[in-house]
Each structure stands twice: as C-alpha cells, then as structure tokens.
Symmetry: C2
Subunit: 367 residues, 2 copies
DNA sequence: TTGAAAGCGCTAACAG
DNA sequence: CTGTTAGCGCTTTCAA
C-alpha cells in the first residue's frame, strides 16, 4: 500500500528478462510476422505478467503521429455541443485515436491559445467549432500541415472541410410553418453573436417572408442582448429573452402586436413564453412560437414547443470521418456538408397537444 | 496553396541556421540563465521567423511527464457534467496541462478501455466520474502511479481523493421542505442506476421522513425504469418519468394519492408535471414537487420548479486542484470533499411564482 | 528469425 | 557562456 509506484515497464524489461533484444520484443508485440511463434508467446506472456503497456509518447515520436485529434469547442453546456462532444469522442475512439479537448468559451483569445496547444501537442488533425471573429491562427495550424474540419460554423477563407447544419433551411421552415398557420406579423428573436449560424437563420426568415409576399421591417429582426457567453454557467439565459420580450410586448406596435415569434434558440422561447403568459396572451391562440434546437425539455413544456431539431450526432460523426479521410487521402478539394435539420411541430404552433414522442428521433448513432 | 506542408521546424533548424548547438538553442528558448543575451535574442528571433513550436512529444518523453490530465466522464449531455467539463478544462488549461477526454456512457467496458488509453497516453493524472459497477481497472491505473480523483461518485475501495456533492443533504432538505409545506404522503422518484448518488438521495429522503416521524413504506421509493443510458441522446428521458407517473397516479393508493413528490432529477419532474396536469392535479395545490439539478429550464416552467442546485463548477475546480496537489506533494491520506448543494425554492412547492433570478447563482467561477 | 545500429526531438549532465 | 555526450522508449533500416 505504501510501496511507491515502480517505474513503468518498458520493452527492455521484457527483453532482459527473456534474454532477447529490445527489437525482437517490439516485433513480437507488434504482430510482425518475422518472429517465431515460441518467441512471440514468451514475450506476450512476460508482457502480460509485468503489466507492460506501450508508451505512446515514444511510439508517437518515432512514428511522427500522436494518434490524437483535437476538439476545439465553444461551450459544452450548450446541449447541441454536448451531443457533438459525445458523438465525436465515440467516433474518434472507435478509430483508435485519442481526443484532446479545448474549450474556447467564444473567446478569440482562448481560441488562439488553443491553436498553440494543438501545434505543440502535434495532433494529427482537429475538429473545430470556430469563434469566427478571427482566423489567422487557424491558417497557421492548417499551414503547418494539420488538417482541420470546421463544424457548425465555417471559415470559408481557409478552404477547409466543413460540416454544419442547414440553419437557413430550418429557419425558413419554421417561419413558413408559422405563416401557413395564419401568422402575419412575425418577429424573429435572434442571438447577438457575430456568427454565421445566426446570420443564416435570419436569411431563412427573410426568405420565407419574401416567398409569402410579406415585407420585413428592421424591427422585425431583433437581437436579444446577451451577457458575455459563459460556458461555466448556461449556454443562454432564458431570462434575457424574457426581459427583452417584456419590453417588446409593452412597446407600441403600430401594425398590431406580433402574432408569431421565430426564436433562434429554445431558451429564448422559454423566456418568451413566460413573458407572454404574464400578459395573458395565449399560445398558440394569440401568438404562435417556434424554438430552435429541440432541447430535452421542449416537448415537455406546458405548451410543448415547436422547434427545429438539430442532427448533432450526425454532424459529429461526419466531421470525424471527413477528418480521417483527409488524413489518409491527400489533398482534395474541401468538402462542405450541410445536414438538414427537422422541424418538429408541437402545440406552440397549433400542433398536437400531446407530447411528441422522443423515440421518433432519427438515430444517427453509429455502430 | 498547393505546396505541401513543410516538416515542422525543430531546434536543429534554428541551431544550424545560427551556427549554434541544439543544446544552446534549447536553453535560449527555455529561459535558462546560462545563455548570453545576444544569443538568446538571436535564437528567439529565428524561432519566431520560422514559426518554431516545441514538440511536446519529445519534451514529454525526456521529461517523463506528458503534462496531460485525463477526464473520464459518463455523459456530457447531462448538464451537470457539461458544466463539470467546462470548469475542469478551464482549470487544467490554466495550470498548463492538456486534457484528454474519455466518455464512458455508463458502460464498464468503455471505462476499462478508457483506463487502457490513460495508461498508454501516460497521463500525469486523471479526474474520473466512475461507473462504479467495477473498479479493478482503476486499481491498475492507480498502482501504476497515476493519481486519480473521483468526482461525484466515489470508489472508496481505492483510497483515492474524491470530490462530490452532498446528495443526501440535498435530498434531505428537499424532503423536509415538502414536509414543512404540509405534505405527508411523499413519494420519491429515483433513477435506477446502481450508483451512490441515487443511494445517497434515497438515504436523505428516508432520514428526513424519519426525523419528521413519518414512516416510509417500500412503494414510497420508486425507481423509474430507464432505457440504456445513451450520451448521444439525452441524459434522461422525461418521457419515462411521465409514463411511470401515469401508471402511478392510476394505481389505487390505500392511504390516498401522494401529495408530494421528490424526484432525483429535473427531467423526472418534467415528466411528472405533465402527468399531473393531465389528471388535473394542481401543483403545488394538490401536489408539491421538487426536482434535482436546477437545469436551465427549471426556473422557466409554467410552474417554476423547486429544485436542488448543484455546485458543478466548484466540484470541477476542486477536483483539478486536488489532483495537482497530489501530483506535487507525495503520499498523503486521501481527502474526501462533499460540497453542499442548495435548495432553490420556487412555485412547485408554493414558493414565489415569479422567476427565481438566475443571477443569484453563487459564482464559483475561478479566475 | 534475430540482433545491432541509428534516430525521432528534446533536455540534463558534464566539459571546456 | 557554449558544445559534446548521453539517453528518454520505441521503431525501422540493415546485417547476420
């Protein structure tokens, strides 16, 4: 119990114990065919006996590959990213790689430090959810020969592979759905981050409105002011949308109050629902609402929430697959993949009041 | 653009360029004082010019430390664990270490493979949320000299450091709170995993009941049958608690229907709320409810949920600190720390109907 | 089939 | 202050 940990066994320990050369032991363990069956058996027995575990560090140094991939992500507390982490880790591990995790918290500075870490650790490649504000540091990583796959948000300037969600389409469908349900005075509540996902949803909203022959004034697209993103706390604060909506609903609306809200985030929908309830506005009677993300609680709100379900697992595994392909194959053109999200219709837009069965969820679970 | 990535620069590149020895370059970059100012400046300039980044692999090999910690966790989609990941990653990075992530998905088999990976990667230590069903593989890791800190769940047999939450106390307080509010026929809805967190909550429930002079029959402690844990999907399915509660509320209750529910999980509370609403039972009028976890939505449900808030960030940073201390100091007695959770009282137990302000949340944010 | 030698990139110990 | 030597643990030549 108090006995200090012995230094971990090496190939040499096995070699000397068996009167062999380090080299032979290495080959015996490596399943090369240039070793006699007897030797191999002896080596393996001795290895097992002393609990030999190969030293990846030394192995990587000579092989020139650490068999490690990096995952650079903004905020694990965002359920979408949490699922992404799971699916990526699973796939990476299944392919025999290790996963180095770096959290950026939407900070460019953290991201720059993350790239340093990737470089130093000599990862073979990285899956990245970029902050998007700057990307010179990513250029440096790419130029040093580390393949990158951007996830959820692209950095087109770098010409790397990319896997994302078709946010524009999701937003388009949500908006169209509200319009089809009779809403005319729509309002979009969006995140106020300078990222393409938000921009894409705005585009989808505008396009749906245009396709329906509805005009969009500037005050129909609102950015909910958000405190500094903090992955130690929540991904988003429902409270911010709540306060924002309180004001919004108090303001004079020359053309009448909004009768439909598209939100860029289920948390916004949550805050909004509260604000509406306080003003005795019925959902979906007076106002219809869509969320975005299909968070676990969405189906279980008093008024189950119509929302856009994101294919997190599929995005994650696709990203890893792209990365590994590029690791093997050489230089091809960058591939950009957008995976289609799914509008889940529930009571908040007049859908069935009963809960939407979670088991419908398409299983993109690998293996 | 099509130019292949040059091999990454090494110390030797700098040395030959400057007509110095590799060793001198190493010292110049390493800020040792045994280098002339001029040489150091020249070396640093050249290093910057060619974009030299030290190779951690080689460095680790000779130094005998990879400056890497492992994080073995069950399910990132559980908001508590998501916050744990963030806080741990932040702290680990702040201390100059890298973080290797392994997800076990509550599977012993995955956990065993994870320990292999930790051993091979030669991590300096690991923060572990153990599956708890078996632990021989952890013994092996510990015996090979890799310090372990168990988080949230302990494996007392191994005598490692441990940081957790005082689940028993949280449960005790929630139960006592319900009793104080007048509830007498209480029911506990718990997870059906064979883990200590669940067991501790059951203990807390029983103790609170006993302290109030209330008897607890076997059918007052119920385990909600759960599908195989799947970190690719949800941490828990509200639906399971919903269906379970449906049955529960239909069953005959000789002593009258329950008037208070303690749940081991906010998701269970969510499903339960739905089932109660469908039977026109008012919360908290007919039935009072407590959740566990204070998930982001808890404050924003139609009936804001009284729940137990978990100190995730504090647990995470404490775990890393313990691990690093042990890495530096030698063999002390294992330290076990339970951090106290906080009962947040809301409308589901007759608390204020207005939202509980999230900003009250104690900030255990480091640095 | 096995061994000897060389080297991955870096740092520590010792000379000079 | 700087260079030489040695070695971390492993794998890949090349001989024997």
């Amino acid at each position: 119990m108090t006995e200090g940990p012995r230094p971990r066994p090496t190939l040499r320990d096995i070699a000397t114990a068996l009167g062999l050369s380090v080299n032979t032991v290495s080959r015996a363990l490596g399943d090369k065919d240039s070793v006699s069956a007897a030797t191999r058996a002896a080596v393996q027995a001795e290895a097992a006996r002393i609990g030999y575990v190969p030293n990846t560090l030394a192995r990587s140094l000579v092989l020139g590959s650490a068999m490690t991939l990096g995952l650079v992500i903004t905020n694990p507390s965002n359920p979408f990213y949490a699922q992404l982490i799971s699916s990526i880790e699973l796939r990476v591990r299944a392919q025999g790689y290790s996963l180095l995790l770096l959290v950026t918290d939407e900070s460019v500075e953290n991201e720059q430090r993350a790239t340093e870490a990737l470089l130093r650790s000599a990862v073979d490649g990285a899956v990245v959810v970029p902050v998007q504000a700057e990307w010179d540091h990513w250029r440096r990583v790419r130029d040093s020969g580390i393949p990158l796959v951007f996830v959820n948000r692209d950095v087109p300037e770098l010409g790397c592979d990319m896997v994302g969600v078709d946010y524009e389409r999701g937003s388009y469908e949500a908006t169209s759905h509200l319009i089809a349900g009779g809403a005319r005075r729509l309002l979009l509540l969006e995140e106020d981050l300078p990222i393409t996902t938000t921009a894409d949803r705005i585009t989808g909203f505008r396009r749906a409105m245009a396709d329906a022959g509805l005009k969009v004034s500037d005050d129909q697209v609102q950015a909910v002011p958000t405190k500094r993103y903090d992955s130690l706390a929540l991904p988003w604060q429902p409270e911010e949308a709540y306060r924002f909506a309180q004001t919004l609903l108090t303001d004079a609306h020359p053309d009448g109050h909004p009768d439909g809200f598209v939100t860029g985030n289920d948390y916004f929908a949550l805050g909004l629902l509260r604000a509406l309830a306080e003003r005795d506005l019925a959902v979906p009677g007076d106002v219809a609402i869509t969320g975005y993300g299909d968070h676990p609680y969405a189906a279980y709100l008093q008024t189950p929430l119509t929302t856009v379900r994101l294919p997190a697992a599929e995005v994650g595994t696709t990203a890893v697959d792209l990365l590994l392909q590029r690791l093997r194959a050489g230089t091809e053109r960058p591939r950009k993949t957008l995976i289609r999200p799914e509008l889940v219709i529930r009571a908040s837009t007049g859908g069935p009041p009963a809960l939407t069965n979670r088991q419908e969820q398409p299983s993109s679970t690998p293996g």
